[in-house]
């Protein structure tokens, strides 16, 4: 027979064994889950480090002509080493690659920080004429592009400035001096950097040309050395060769031409007598409808003739003065 004391003891032992069995299963499970979590954390950290390294990569890509070879100069300006795995060359207009398989070069090239490598890409664009861009892809999955370059028969043209940026200034104010300044915003080059023009007529238009390489430029217009307020239109930022023309329209009112009113002051009637002198004065008046003053640049004296046997002995003319609307001046006292 089993006593009550033995039964109680067995229950306690059974309960202890049950707890031991459960704990024996639970603890390894918890430890295992913990180790998985730590593996996941480690992978997340590694992934984060990869992303930081990826965005630390920095490459400058230049296109050079060295002898007969078209060469990419790839400079690692970032803080970490990287590996260039592919080089692409494609037409800027269509996006078409020159190699049927896609990339034009697939040999990996390791570049240390501060170092640079020269990559011969002549074969990629052999004989091609047009605008081309080169793209370099790294092992961490970054892409770096060159500037757009114009090629002739697969080579860079001899000119240092293969592109022309034209700047037009419309409706200039007569007598004012206009200066166009072209400033590179990246590694583009421009020549000349400034151009100055003095408007000699109202609403005069002028177009000037600047030689540039590919790049982004700020184009600014000054009037008498002060920035012209054209809102967002001045200064203008342009990316060559995507855009090669800039227009500054000063939006002045178009000046309508008017005729000068000529007034001749002379005696109404002159009796003929040999040796008698008569004085005639010629005035001009600018009509009040004129929109701006004018300058009398010359007066043709030979237009004044004396009919009926008289002769013009002396005709002095005056020129070079400004004439304002509704103003009358003497131009020819004869």
């Amino acid at each position: 027979m089993t006593s009550r004391g033995d039964l109680g003891f067995s229950s306690v032992v059974a309960a202890v064994f049950t707890v031991v069995i459960v704990i024996a299963a639970l603890i390894p499970t918890l430890l295992y889950t913990q180790s998985l979590y730590s593996i996941l954390s480690s992978e997340i950290n590694e992934r984060r480090r990869f992303e930081i390294e990826r965005y630390s990569e920095k490459l400058d890509v230049f296109v050079l002509q060295i002898g007969n070879e078209l060469t990419l100069k790839v400079a690692n300006t970032g803080p970490i080493s990287l590996v260039v795995v592919r080089v692409w060359a494609y037409d800027v207009g269509t996006g078409a690659t020159f190699s049927p398989d896609g990339p034009c070069r697939i040999q990996p090239i390791a570049i240390n920080p501060g170092s640079e490598e020269l990559i011969d890409v002549s074969a990629c664009v052999s004989g091609y004429t047009g605008y081309v861009m080169f793209k370099v892809v790294t092992e961490r999955g970054r892409e770096f592009t060159s500037n757009v370059v114009g090629l002739r028969n697969g080579m860079l043209p001899l000119s240092q400035f293969p592109f022309t940026l034209t700047v037009s200034i419309l409706n200039m104010h007569r007598g004012k001096t206009y200066t166009v300044e072209v400033t590179p915003l990246d590694d583009g080059l421009v020549s000349p950097r400034t151009f100055t023009h003095k408007a000699t007529a109202s609403n005069e238009n002028v177009t000037v040309a600047f030689g540039t390489t590919a790049g982004t430029f700020n184009v600014t217009l000054y009037e008498n050395n002060r920035l012209v307020d054209l809102g967002d239109s001045n200064p203008q930022s342009v990316r060559v060769p995507d855009h090669t023309a800039v227009v500054f329209d000063l939006e002045r009112t178009v000046i309508t031409s008017v005729n000068l009113e000529v007034t001749i002051m002379a005696p109404r009637r002159v009796g003929y007598a040999e040796g008698r002198e008569v004085q005639v004065s010629v005035f001009v008046r600018l009509p009040s409808s004129a929109q701006e003053p004018v300058t009398i640049t010359s007066v043709q004296a030979n237009l004044l003739i004396a009919a009926g046997g008289g002769q013009v002995d002396e005709c002095s003319i005056v020129s070079g003065m400004d004439l304002y609307p509704n103003q009358m001046i003497l131009v020819a006292p004869a």
Partner: protein
Amino acid sequence: MAVAIGIVLMLVSHSWAASVGTRSLDQTNKEIAQQWSLLLVEHAVLSDDGSNATVYVSNPGKYELVVLRCVVYPRGAPPPTFSFNEHGRVPPNMSLVVPLTCPVYGARPFVIELFAIPAHLYNPREPSTNAQYGVTMKYDLEG
């Protein structure tokens, strides 16, 4: 009797522990695979008639990816809907650039949308299985 119950209890608890461990391992593997699912569009060019685009992709991640969706459509427009279809497999570590032919809808400016899933999570019979561990990438198509 008590010993028998104990053995049963031990088996039950161990099988539960094994099941939890397996599920945790599976989940962890999937999440790690998703972390390292990266896809890079190296270049893209439209066909002459504009009906499709060749999209060159590579994989800087650690696992091979299966591209299940590749479509080119107008930027800002809702993406066209169609079922998953295996466009190509992209090996890891940037070892290869893979050209994909993708349909083009609408007019410029275009955006390229890609959906890829780690190859070991891809079930060809049920492509939508594990789709939650896939990654979607969008790239502006220049030009």
